[in-house]
Symmetry: C2
Subunit: 667 residues, 2 copies
């Protein structure tokens, strides 16, 4: 005898459930308050009727909801649900061959009286069985219906019409449907991470608190940062991100410009975490204490700004962990701790954790306690330093565990690494991810990259956060120091994704000096020394930044990673794309001149039908940067951008509308 | 404390393994003797080195093989294996962060002598641990090497070169690699169905044995069929398929042309299986007995022909199962057995099995015993009647169980149903599948459909078997009776797929009468009555059929479903496509005139580079139907086809070759 399955009566097949990530191996990501639409491909043998339901639940103990999926043709079934609050949702598609539904479908088509009599008797039995699954009140109604059907079937006077009317009664049919026989239902389970809106719409400003002192040469403090908050709010930022704020190691401390030997006055790299004063749960005393930190967060919150901290899971040689938990580090044969290296390069100021340690469980719990520590102190956003150099399974666990307890926490993966690893980190849980935008400059590069991010499978889980610069990366085009380059890269970052950020003071001031030719490192980088920034300089970019961020705040189309579409324009130096928000109908057209030195012009093509624009009526494009308005008509329109003035248009499309008082305006 | 996984030290991630069917939910299909190439996307955190191996096994108890996967860039790893015999293969990708490999990679790059000393000592420990995993002989070599390294590391005289040479020794490195530390290896498992070649290259002829008598009006027998075998072999068929050969029910038997009431002399439909003489394991006495059946199979085998039987899992009302196993059928309220119906249509001569019966396990086993019964009598190919009206889980189990015992058995799914269900049957195990080819006539329809089958995800599991007609389907174009239509549809079926078949006698004789206008049923169908075919009629298609089948036999390009590519040709009535066999380089170009009445001409474009043809040298196209040869040159060549003569070219491409005696010929 050949081995049989435990149960052979499952007849419904759930072939696919869309969208999905790797057939359900990883959760999809969505935003709270937005409908989540699902398509399931389900079928069974024969002509019997299927029923398919979508079941969902917030968290493991949330209330269970269920909605009927409706056939959309070609064995596709559709339904949606609204995850109202952030959290991890479980959802299932459940399908079964429904004997009641099949009976009803067949009965409607029967013509022969004798056949109808028999069918009505069959239905009476099905309804009786439904009554057996129903609670008392409904059971009585169904029981009575079944009895009536049985009587009618046996009545030699009964005609087809009367029998069918009784058997197809709509109200009682709906009742019977509630108590379907699901013994042999097939089920497929999936999960969904629902985040708050800031996960896909956030505007980041990075600064080193120690460089924020009012006086040059002084060590900045949280109080100094607090002074800057109104200015940052006016510019439109809602996330203020700090490099690590912890005590900085003294052993093997690096000097200015990454010098191997530090002078006594050198402040060290904030990423060399830990010293006698404490480690990942301590604050560098020169910045202030927990009271100042609390005050800073409170003031920021009043201004709509969240503070994001850096999670850099590594230690300076004098981090308290090194002596307290030697088992968390790898040893060299001489007993010394293995420092970070990528031969022949050595990073002797940094000890990585050994994720293959036998004590991995304690290490994981301790690292989670670091995150919990800062969450308790009001931090909800973490920028994770080099997550691709720590065990990937650890992140999957950590992010899952933290978000189960605090669904509103956001993790940004600072990984600039190989493509599959970048995507892998997002799959296994990171809320947002750094991208290759930093090095995508030409029209072709930008079009290819953002088409892939917006239409490829990664769109379901990889949320780009675009940075034109970071403290580690001064890209070659910015080294020109040209205002047009800084402006163009800002507009691109701010409009190609719902999330973007700048390494702020240097960007405002268009800092452009690299440490040496061919390097992307800043000269006199804040990573290794204090700087003092003349943020009120008249030539700063702040007013453009404020205008760009205001356009983002006022246009839902710019507040997500969805709805991007490139537009043909007959000039390789001009890139044009639409951003659309389906819910509000808001449409913004962005055109950027990628040539920093010359005026570039071209004819731009719009697909008017998809924009619901009449080719014979003019419409308005309103430049949110210059506040100028242009009347356009038809699919081809002329654009010219002078980089000496402003290298970009951010054009809100406005339809012509006739008011009730019979005058036209643009909405 | 948050719950932790059982083991947190798995660092390698196997992100995807390609190709696959639904991320590995179903097996891929391949042919024995052909290399199976796999790409795995694997990565881990950090700079450490991965090792990835591919492991495979024929069946559950086969020998285990393993091959190293090689990096192909961008985190892709490749390997292949050769499944030599048909069977179900299990294969796995196994990946781990390899400490020995990482050590070696770093050591090669180290420059500092002190660092090299320490590294050599680290390596000595790693090699010692490898020795602990090795059998005695290898353990001794590795132990000695480890000791030598430890000594060298401690020797204050040792220089970098000597140390590196000793530590990077290739032969001993290869040995150490065999005993890698795989404690934390990640693994993903897949399966592969390997079939014999006939699964993708088969040429089917369908006939009703009862219509094969030499004399009109007589009931044909297996002996009559045996007489026909040499003729079928000459025409080039290798599968001879019979409708059911079992006793035919007498209760509710249908008459000629599907009449509800049969006359006493009516022979009934072979699909109404079972009568007093027996059921699915019996032979209709009028056809002969098991001895004649055995003789027929033996003679067919001598001629290279296999007999395919029909698996129609349903019963006539007088099938012995109905009384012996009433629990396998659904009952109506009056106690009678539920016949097949699709209201308002009724099929009272057929009782379907109830796949939701409580006795499903016994039913499944009995149906499998039917297959086993015929396998024991030499049948290895089954055409399964309407599999989409029986529980899909049953087929998955049945085909899996049968093929585990008899890997060379082939199941053809006769399902003409909705697309996802057609594909679903193939996913869950059917070796070959009927297709929509039967109704795809225009250039656009054929191009779309075969592009989808050849380039879509179904190419990994759905093997089309093309039928221009069947006893159930006389498609509308064939009802014209035009020889050009029959010829064109034959060439298309025979060249668009490795598998094709014809409902033979009617096709040879270009039978074209439908039962009534608008119907696809044959008039006086063999399904309900005996017919007598004048197969020696001079106007039959037999010589064209023989030429087409010979072209298939002689050209590997026509022997699989792979390597199809449509070619542009500037006439909508002409369709052109290449078939290529990668292993032999064999290329056949097919051009068909879809207009049955008019000469059609056009310029055909070939991608010469991909064919490795020199645009300045002529090449030969050799028409395998007419045996004419043409010299072509360059990418555009002229084609003209007169449907009154022959509506198709089947052109073998031959390169110009210079012989050693300095004359040119075409190979």
């Amino acid at each position: 005898m050949t081995e049989l399955p435990d149960e052979g009566r499952y007849r419904a097949v759930i072939d696919a459930v869309l969208p999905n990530v790797d057939a359900g191996a990883y959760p999809l990501k969505r935003i709270a308050g937005e409908h989540f639409a699902i398509e399931a491909h389900c079928y069974a043998d024969g002509h019997d009727r299927l029923r398919v339901v979508l079941c969902w639940q917030a968290g493991e103990r949330g209330e269970l909801f269920e909605v009927e999926m409706t056939p959309a043709g070609n064995d596709a079934w559709r339904a949606q649900f609204l995850p109202r609050v952030p959290g991890l949702y479980d959802y299932s598609v459940i399908a079964w061959v429904d004997s009641f539904e099949s009976w009803r479908h067949d009965l409607e088509r029967r013509e022969d009286l004798q056949d109808i009599r028999i069918a009505v008797a069959v239905g009476a039995a099905l309804i009786e069985s439904a009554a057996g699954r129903a609670p008392r009140g409904d059971a009585e109604i169904l029981g009575a219906w079944s009895k009536a059907l049985r009587g009618a079937a046996a009545d030699p006077q009964g005609d087809s019409g009367t029998l069918k009317t009784l058997a197809l009664d709509t109200a009682r049919t709906d009742l019977a449907r509630r108590y379907a026989d699901r013994r042999f239902a097939s089920r497929r389970r999936y999960s969904l991470v629902v985040d708050r809106k800031r996960a896909e719409f956030s505007t980041w400003y990075e600064l080193f608190p120690r460089s924020s002192a009012a006086q040059a040469g002084q060590h900045g403090t949280f109080r100094d940062v607090e002074e800057q908050l109104p200015r940052l709010a006016r510019m439109g930022f809602d996330v203020l991100y700090f490099p690590p704020i912890h005590p900085i190691g003294r052993i093997n401390r690096k000097g200015s410009n990454n010098a191997l030997a530090a002078a006594a006055t050198d402040v060290g790299s904030p990423w060399a975490i830990g010293a006698a004063e404490g480690g990942h749960k301590a604050i560098l005393p020169a910045l202030g204490g927990f009271e100042e930190f609390r005050s800073l967060l409170a003031r920021a919150a009043q201004l709509g700004i969240e503070i994001a901290l850096d999670l850099a899971f590594q230690c300076a040689p004098d981090h308290p962990y090194v002596s307290a938990h030697p088992e968390w580090f790898r040893r060299r044969p001489d007993g010394s701790v293995q420092y970070a290296e990528n031969p022949p390069k050595k990073y002797q100021d940094i000890y990585p954790f050994d994720f293959e340690t036998d004590a991995w469980a304690e290490l994981w719990q301790e690292l989670k306690s670091v995150v919990d520590f800062w969450i308790e102190r009001g931090v909800k956003i973490f920028r994770v330093d080099n997550p691709h150099t720590k065990a990937l399974g650890f992140w999957q666990w950590l992010i899952g565990a933290v978000k189960r307890e605090h669904a509103d926490v956001i993790f940004l993966a600072e990984a600039f690494t190989r493509p599959k690893l970048m995507l892998g980190l997002a799959k296994l849980g990171f809320t947002q991810s750094y991208t290759y935008f930093t090095w995508r400059n030409s029209k072709q590069e930008l079009t290819n990259y953002f088409s892939e991010l917006n239409t490829g499978p990664s769109r379901e889980y990889y949320r780009p956060n675009l940075w034109p610069n970071t403290p580690d990366i001064l890209p070659e085009p910015l080294q020109s120091g040209l205002r047009s380059v800084f402006a163009a890269r800002l507009v691109l970052a701010a409009t190609l994704s719902g999330n973007y950020g700048i390494y702020g003071p240097t960007y405002e001031l268009m800092e452009s000096s690299a440490r040496e030719a061919g390097s992307e490192e800043y000269l006199d980088s804040e990573k290794y020394q204090l700087r003092h920034w003349q943020l009120h300089r008249p030539d700063s970019l702040r007013s453009l930044i404020a205008r760009v961020n205001r356009a983002r705040r006022e246009n839902p189309a710019l507040q997500s990673n969805q709805g991007l579409q490139f537009c043909p324009i007959d000039n390789d130096q001009l890139i044009a794309y639409l951003k659309r928000d389906a819910a509000t109908g808001n449409v913004v057209l962005i055109v950027v001149n990628l040539d920093p030195l010359h005026v570039q012009s071209g004819w731009l093509e719009l697909d008017l039908a998809s924009l619901q624009l009449d080719p014979r009526t003019d419409f308005q494009v309103h430049d949110l940067l210059s506040d100028q308005r242009y009347l356009w008509r038809g699919p081809r329109n002329y654009v010219s951008l002078d980089p000496g003035r402003m290298p970009a248009h951010v054009l809100r499309l406005r339809h012509r509308v006739r008011s009730e008082h019979d005058f036209d305006y643009f909405l």
